[in-house]
């Protein structure tokens, strides 16, 4: 396939189609509506399921239903809509059905604005839904990575029967760049054997998150935690840039992670030993590697479009081995390369 100029929201929607998306349920919200619009045409054209729901509450429960029936299903939204989905996310986690969610984060709290933000980090990695569970959270930094992660998201969701979120932001959804879409893949022919499709020739399948009795539920919780540990073991992903001899480590994900690659390039030109670790999974978080690097570098600078959310995970994993500083922009402001570069230089002087 050749490279084309693609808008982020259209790119992930079309990538999902080509990776075998069978059903999409969603509700319009900026800055991700182009995905829903694209799928409203494409899915119908291909004889697949598209439905504009009456709310995100309905959308997540439609996803839950279709996932229970064992099809490849997703929705996409932004903060306010994702918040409405929280109860459904928890049910999906408890029932262990695979489903994929894209959150193109926008400024908050409340209605906030429609500018890019990373302020849903806590919500996506730790708090979206009641009860003990973690989703797998992928964080793309370019449209190509967004496309590739759609395929990975379905694969991981189905492999572990779990929730996978893609943590994008408004700029990733709205910008255009050249990227390559995957070729059209055939739809899966067979539904998984746990799916609810009618009990012909077998005992009924039940999809539920209800386990009466404390000991029963505890056993389920322990099993879920084992699965999460396995995900942590196998699926932690990150990218490193110039970390071998780094004295200052930048940690940033998504759009800010990408900006930080420019910061590294610029600072290296200026002879500064700066490296970058860009988490590609926010949960599981690259704890072990950050811990190792924290022992090697003089200081860490975390940068986010938030007041410092991933910062808490970096502090936790660095375990006090080196100072951890933060530079963030809020309200939908995207930090510029120069801003982060000057923060980095300041830190170089401080630790010299």
């Amino acid at each position: 396939m050749a490279k084309e100029l693609l808008k982020g929201n259209v790119a992930f929607a079309e990538a999902a189609v080509r990776y075998g998306l069978e059903a999409y349920f969603g509700y319009p919200i900026t800055p991700q509506s182009e995905a829903l619009e694209h799928l409203s045409g494409r899915m119908v054209e291909l004889g697949r399921v598209f439905l504009q729901a009456e709310s995100e509450v309905a959308a997540v429960n439609m996803v839950y239903g279709a996932a229970s029936a064992g099809v490849r299903v997703m929705t996409s939204t932004s903060g306010p809509g994702f918040a409405l989905m929280a109860e459904g996310l928890s049910y999906i986690a408890g029932s262990e059905v695979p489903a994929v969610f894209v959150n193109m984060m926008r400024g908050g709290p409340g209605l906030g604005n429609i500018q890019p933000s990373q302020a849903d980090y806590f919500f996506m990695t730790k708090t979206a839904g009641h009860g003990d569970f973690h989703p797998l959270v992928l964080a793309p930094a370019s449209i190509q990575e967004l496309i590739d992660m759609m395929g990975l998201a379905f694969e991981l969701a189905e492999k572990y029967r779990t929730l996978v979120y893609i943590a994008g932001d408004g700029s990733l959804g709205q910008m255009m760049e050249s990227a390559e879409l995957p070729p059209m893949q055939p739809l899966r022919e067979k539904r998984p054997d746990w799916a609810v499709i009618g009990c012909e020739g077998r005992d009924p399948n039940i999809i539920t998150s209800l386990y009466l009795g404390a000991k029963n539920l505890e056993a389920v919780n322990i099993r879920l935690q084992k699965k999460l540990a396995e995900i942590k073991q196998n699926e932690t992903r990150w990218k490193e840039y110039e970390t071998e001899d780094a004295e200052i480590l930048l940690v940033a994900y998504g759009t800010v992670g990408r900006i930080c690659t420019s910061v590294v390039r610029e600072s290296r030109k200026q002879g500064l030993k700066i490296g970058l670790l860009r988490p590609q999974t926010l949960w599981p978080f690259p704890d072990t590697r950050i811990r190792e690097l924290a022992a090697q570098v003089k200081a860490i600078l975390v940068s986010e479009m938030s007041a410092g959310q991933m910062l808490e995970d970096v502090e936790r994993t660095a375990q006090g081995q080196c100072p951890v500083k933060f530079y963030g922009r809020l309200g939908g402001v995207v930090p510029l390369t120069d801003e982060i570069l000057s923060e980095t230089r300041k830190l170089v002087r401080e630790v010299a």
Partner: protein, 263 residues
């Protein structure tokens, strides 16, 4: 626990467990009408021969464990979201039969939006809606269908319509939606009514099988435990009081649904 019954040779079997009803004793309170309606659903599923192609959606409410009793594939939805979940299931299984079984808190309070929109889209779904005028599972609080003046654990001096508003008439509302093809209110409070209810449930399933549109059978029911009545008294009370505010009858039936031969 399965129940072993040995029938003497000289006796004829005239009444038995439907195939679609699992042989276990239920968790429902003695005298609860959920059990009656579960049985009706199971009988209808058997008579239509659809057990192996039916998917049930259980609510949050006393019927949360419906899947332990009705022997089809089942999911357990979040409170009020049964029809959204059922929509997801049906859209990707268009050749299967999907039904929801919901209480009044589930369908008419927390899930009103999902209910009205599923009906209005004309989803090919069947709903069995148990209206017992109370939140049974959580201990007898006021429901959207609690009658004016009725005492509950959260309306201790009786439902005050000035502050709590009036009971919601869901069948009347659903009958206004374009996508609904069959909306009826029946009852489970006497034998004649139960027979009619079964016929209505059967028609509602047949409407789905025929691809006609959304169908909902509301069943005026009792909750003797939370009404603080014995079962018989509760039946009488429902007949005298509930059906006055919630008149029985069919609120919408298209010609195609009317033409279905329901036996």
């Amino acid at each position: 626990m399965s129940i072993e019954v040995k029938i003497p040779d000289e006796m004829e079997l005239v009444y038995e467990y439907p195939d679609a009803l699992t042989e276990v004793s239920s968790h429902y309170c003695p005298g609860c009408t959920h059990g009656i309606v579960h049985r009706l659903v199971a009988e209808v599923i058997d008579e239509l021969g659809i057990r192996e192609k039916t998917i049930g959606v259980a609510p949050v409410g006393c019927a949360v464990l419906a899947y332990k009793y009705i022997k089809t594939d089942f999911v357990e939805a979040a409170h009020g979201r049964a029809l959204a979940m059922a929509t997801g299931i049906k859209r990707v299984n268009p050749d299967k039969i999907v039904f929801t079984y919901q209480g009044d808190g589930d369908l008419a309070a927390i899930g009103t939006a999902e209910t009205v929109h599923a009906a209005n889209r004309g989803e090919l779904l069947t709903t069995v809606f148990i209206n017992n005028a109370i939140y049974g599972m959580t201990g007898g609080q006021m429901a959207p269908t609690t009658l004016p003046g009725m005492i509950t654990t959260s309306s201790p001096t009786g439902r005050d319509v000035i502050t709590a508003g009036y009971p919601i008439k869901m069948s009347e509302i659903l009958a206004q939606t374009t996508g609904a093809v069959y909306i009826t209110r029946e009852s489970a409070t006497n034998l004649g009514a139960i027979r009619k209810t079964k016929k209505a449930i059967k028609r509602a399933f047949m409407a789905q099988i025929a691809g006609l549109g959304y169908a909902c059978v509301e069943v005026v029911s009792t909750c003797c435990t939370n009404w603080n009545m014995d079962p018989w008294e509760a039946m009488k009370w429902a007949e005298e009081n509930m059906t006055e505010y919630f008149p029985l009858g069919t609120f919408k039936m298209t010609d195609e649904v009317k033409a279905l031969q329901v036996r």
